[in-house]
Amino acid sequence: MTRSRLWKDFYKNRFLLALTMPMVFYAFVISYLPMFGSIVAFKRYQYNKGILGSDWIGFENFRFLVESPDLRRIVRNTLGYNSIFIISGLVASVTVALLMYELTSRRLLKLYQSVMFFPHFLSWVVVAYMAYALLNPRSGMLNQWLTALGWEGPVDWYNHAMSWIGIIPTANLWKQIGMSAIIYYAALVGIDSTYYEAARIDGANKLQIVWRISVPFLFPLMTILTILAIGHIFSADFGLFYQLPMGSPTLFSTTDVIDTYIFRALINLGNVGMSSAAGLLKSVLGFVLVVGTNAIVRKYNSENSLF
């Protein structure tokens, strides 16, 4: 009975299963096979012994991260900034996408989209240089404008830690908003316009239409993207936090995150086991959060959840 049931399901779903097989096989080879190598996090890795031959040392490799005197700071900064990024990104991208949708001039729309899109492909090194041109105390443009407006004296932004709580999310938003807005825009474009016509006939005004139709339609996408972002909440965009502050240590209280700490600690040691341990820890924590968030979302609306 059970056997034939299994086969029956398999047979019924065979085409759909076939559609997924290339991806499944790909993920198996590229991601799952190497995954076995993460046991190096629990070993003292020696080149001449290889991954399997090296000695087990339990959780030793995790100590440098977990016992760090800076642990509270880097965790606070990582989680704090990522939360701000998720929220601000969501609000800003959806808003911009909705506004894009309202534009009637297609040519100008294409222009705006292209212009907003390019920062995503700049490396943070370049962005850091441009920010430096803006913010440096000697010849930075921002300081010039501020003095022109009557502000007292040039501000040494690269030594003033608190201001980076604003600078970093702004920089991140600048870089990502183009791409995020386009994704949401593509979703909006897929809404059957008969819904809008029906709403207009019923006498709804613009704001109501947006609130009652467009936003709910985007809800599944917003949920998925947020859940995925939460999975990565313990990882920071290394380029952003390392390059943008130009490595200035006086800013560490607000710019040091888990990944920059790991980089600084391990750069002279080249210890494969330790870096693997750090990565594993972040993955496990992120995983737990995602499963939790997903379970909550599933309670409310099982279609919007990830799995």
């Binding site: 019924k12 290339p22 979703a187 999975g231 494969v272």
Partner: protein, 298 residues
């Protein structure tokens, strides 16, 4: 009448908003182009300026100096970009579609299976060993294409889009006796143009800008993709400059003085972003409203 005036006002307001927003994006873009066309000495002494004090093509000339290498790099990049994008969009969309169907039995398991790989990874060393020692892919086009073939993020993105297509479409097609593949190609695909365009564009750009795989797997100069070649150029310059304090190094001073570091960095950006601005309009025409008009009824 009132409605028309209101909407014109609203349009104006929205335009103003976007114009203001665009300034924040156009100015840096302009700055990048301007710096790439500036004389290096001016940059050193006077810093970044929106209009170059001296127009100068040295950075570009330096990059294109050995035409064979860069022309070749363009060729490599174009091949991997087009082939890679085509294959990956095909593979990920097929999978995403299957996962979007509520009646697919293995949906949850496969979603979890794929999602897991987004968070967990074995690290660089096992991955490198797999690609070079077991699959023997070093110095091949495959090594440049394969790593970017299956971004899980896009699968979930597309799955969400597919989920929002009306179920009645598929049902009625099935009643008509269409097989799964037919449904996919003749029905789902045309209705999903915006999302295919989005993912296709993003993948194309990802391939265009990729250089990690080249760093790991490519040693032959003929197989250097564009971005990696540029990275190598810039880092070689940095190496020469770093060695200047090491007084035992041989330096040809006339050359060193002219090394266009800043302007070259920006020229690299222009070469990276430039093609995108040409490719973008091509994809934008698929962001058309009204694709699904009447789909429910029809």
């Amino acid at each position: 009448m009132v409605g028309a005036k209101q909407s014109r006002l609203a349009q104006l307001a929205i335009h103003l908003f976007f114009i203001g927003l665009s300034v924040v994006f156009i100015v840096p873009l302009w700055l990048i182009v301007a710096i790439s066309l500036s004389d290096e000495a001016d940059l050193v002494v006077h810093g970044y300026k929106l209009i170059p004090m001296t127009w100068d093509l040295t950075a570009y000339l330096y990059i294109f100096d050995s035409p064979m290498t860069i022309v070749n790099a363009y060729k490599v990049t174009m091949i991997i970009s087009f082939v890679g994008t085509l294959l990956s969009v095909l593979m990920t969309s097929m999978c995403a579609y299957a996962l979007s169907r509520a009646d697919f039995k293995y949906k949850r398991f496969i979603t979890f299976y794929l999602f897991f790989t987004m968070l967990f990874s074995g690290g660089l060393v096992p991955y490198y060993m797999l690609m070079t020692r077991y699959l023997h892919l070093q110095d091949t086009y495959a090594a440049l294409i394969i790593p970017l073939l299956g971004p899980i993020f896009y699968i979930f993105l597309m799955r969400t889009f597919f989920q929002q297509l009306p179920e009645s479409l598929v049902e009625s097609a099935k009643i008509d006796g269409a097989g799964e593949l037919r449904i996919y190609f003749t029905l789902i695909f045309p209705l999903s143009k915006p999302v295919f365009a989005t993912v296709g564009l993003l993948q194309l750009l990802a391939y265009w800008n990729s250089w990690d795989s080249a760093l790991l797997f490519i040693n032959k100069h003929e197989l250097y993709p564009l971005q990696y070649l540029l990275q190598v150029m810039i880092r070689n310059i940095q190496e020469i400059l770093a060695n200047m304090q090491n007084s035992m190094a041989i330096t040809d001073l006339a050359q060193v003085g002219k090394l266009p570091t800043e302007s070259m960095r920006m020229a690299m950006c222009v070469l990276a972003i430039g093609p995108m601005l040409f490719v973008f309009p091509f994809f934008q025409k698929y962001f058309a409203k009204g694709l699904t008009v009447g789909a429910v009824k029809g």
